[in-house]
Amino acid sequence: MTTTSLTKSRGAGRAGDKVFSAATLAAGCLILAVLFGVALFLLIQAFPALVASPDEIQGGKGFVSYIWPIVIGTLIAAVIALVIATPVAIGVALFISHFAPRRLASGLGYVIDLLAAIPSVVYGAWGAAFLAKEISPAYNWLASNMGWLPIFQGPASATGKTILTAGIVLSVMILPIITSLSREIFLQTPKLHEEAALALGATRWEMIRMAVLPFGRPGVISAVMLGLGRALGETMAVALVLSSGALTASLIQSGNQTIAAEIALNFPEASGLKVNTLIAAGLVLFVITLGVNMIARLIITRHKEFSGAN
């Protein structure tokens, strides 16, 4: 009886092994195929817009002159978000990894992670209904006192729905990403380096500057780039907060537009060549974010190899 069950199970088992390993391999390849498919299908659907005669594209001057103002707008919003979020995120990461009491640290980390859990459309609604209103006096102040700077040129938007507000909302949204990755890197600092610095009489800040920050630099850079990738592709915060318009240098007037928001605002009602144009815009966004993410991931992978931490 034992032998029969053994022989019975052998055939089934061998086939099962083959089927199962093939299934896992297929799933893995499917993921690669999907990523390839994203590029392929975007390209197929974008093609008509890329080859269309210039006067058929919205604006009447061809695809390039349609896309470049919103590419610049996307970059402006992302840069504002990074400038605000990076120092705060590094501060928060240091606070959780090296300053907060040990017992509180993981709980505080969870509180910051809650920021990532809030849906983007809620951030957009908050930015449009609360932040824009509260912040517009500050814009008036900036316009009257710092107006000589082109980026703060008045008159400030009365509603506060400007690219700067959108950038602030974006910075809140990318903060938890940068924080959690930097925190992981800071926690991996070799204990011996830290203790050596402290034993030589360094204060806590000197220890962080000598041991933690140099060790964490590549990780922080890639965390910031991942945050950049998110900020570039974030849709709702901009679509709801920004009252869009032509490209302007002033951050406190309404105007500017990002690729993602342009797609979200126009795609539902689009038809014909307009659909292809918007998909082409999505392709441009995909290429930009893919590049940023791949560079960030390469930095992380390289860092992993020589630090021995994984």
Partner: protein
């Protein structure tokens, strides 16, 4: 004689040149009082009070420290102030968002029928009436709840097998081969795909395969799967990696086939982590707006069929109610519905997040010792 023995209160040489332990509290008290006084002159508000007090506190503590302890300690104090300040600044938007949603969302949520009716037949004239004559605000989010539920369930059904099998391949069969490395790398890259691009991909795919203008719940589910699969792969991979090798070896030593070992030993051991990872992935995609916006359109009536017709969802409901109010002249009822839906959405996401933590804790394998 006794007089000579009276201990002279003298600071130890070890603590000389340091601020007393109570220094931060002392400075904080002074800063709060001063801040209140300054704010009283220019008009009081809580945020300004906190800000001014924090600045006075930092300057006071760092200045005192520089005078007593020297510049190195003062720099240390300054860094501590900045780092703690960064943390407090990061908390501000969190509380502000939650507070705003609670205050604005409760009236909508408490509206009778909000959770059980759809927007079918609710037109601008009803909203005008409710503003002008005080009639109750009609309309609800039932259709959006159904849409969110169906789309998310379908996305989960697609993503979990693909994601879990990929994770199994990476951990059990990959052996660090070039293919496994490529998959790991591109899964990481996929986590960074903007959600709207995932939506456009699903739309472009179905436009090309089924026909132009195909917008159904299933298209949205495919879009969400593109966002969900990498999250599932990453979390399942981490969990499968920490299953002790001894368990696998024990199973092999008993003559168990590899696939049965994986199904009966490895995955059950890691199931709590996998389940919580899947729950977190659901929490991530349930709030996605942009991909649903470009793939499922927005409906005002209940649609139970994911394969036919436009479908509403909570995030797109919020978006359209804010951007295109049902009654353009009286947007208040629409924004009340939008905030109510936002509150429901946040509660859903928080419950999923908490649930993930509970699952991880409750079903965690006993690791022994």
């Amino acid at each position: 004689m006794t007089a000579t023995l009276t201990p002279v209160k003298k600071r130890s040489a070890l603590t000389k040149g340091q601020l007393p332990k109570s220094a931060p509290y002392l400075v904080l008290g002074i800063a709060l009082v001063l801040g209140a006084a300054i704010l009283a002159l220019i008009g009081f508000n809580a945020l300004g009070w906190g800000l001014v007090s924090a600045i006075i506190f930092a300057i006071g503590l760092v200045g005192w420290s520089a005078a007593v302890e020297g510049s190195r300690r003062a720099k240390d104090k300054l860094a501590t102030c900045l780092v703690v300040g960064a943390f407090l600044v990061a908390l501000l938007p969190l509380f502000s968002v939650i507070w705003t949603v609670l205050v604005n969302g409760l009236p909508g949520l408490l509206d009778p029928g909000f959770l059980t009716t759809s927007m079918n037949g609710v037109t601008g004239s009803f909203d005008n009436k409710s503003v002008e004559e005080g009639a109750p605000v009609l309309g609800g989010i039932f259709h959006a709840l159904i849409g969110t539920l169906l789309i998310t369930v379908l996305a989960t059904i697609i993503s979990v097998p693909v994601g879990l099998l990929t994770a199994v391949y990476l951990v059990e069969y990959g052996n660090d081969r070039p293919l496994a490395r490529a998959i790991t790398f591109f899964v990481d890259v996929m986590t960074g795909i903007p959600s709207i691009v995932a939506g456009l991909f699903a739309a472009a795919f179905f436009f090309a395969v089924v026909g132009p203008g195909t917008k159904t719940g299933a298209v949205a589910a495919v879009a969400l799967s593109v966002l969900m699969i990498p999250v599932v792969v990453r979390s399942s991979e981490e969990m499968l990696k920490i299953v002790p090798n001894e368990l696998r070896e024990a199973a092999y030593a008993l003559g168990v086939r590899k696939w049965r070992t994986i199904l009966k030993v490895v995955i059950p051991t890691a199931i709590s982590g996998i389940a919580s990872g899947v729950t977190l992935a659901i929490a991530r995609v349930i709030g996605e707006t942009a991909p649903i916006l470009v793939t499922a359109g927005f409906a005002t009536s209940i649609n139970y069929n994911v394969f036919g017709g436009w479908m509403a969802s909570l995030p797109t409901f919020i978006y359209t109610q804010i951007l295109n109010p049902t009654s353009p002249s009286n947007p208040d009822p629409s924004s009340q519905r939008a905030w109510g839906a936002a509150l429901v959405l946040i509660i859903l996401v928080m419950v999923l997040n908490l649930g993930a933590r509970l699952i991880a804790r409750m079903f965690a394998p006993k690791t022994g010792r």
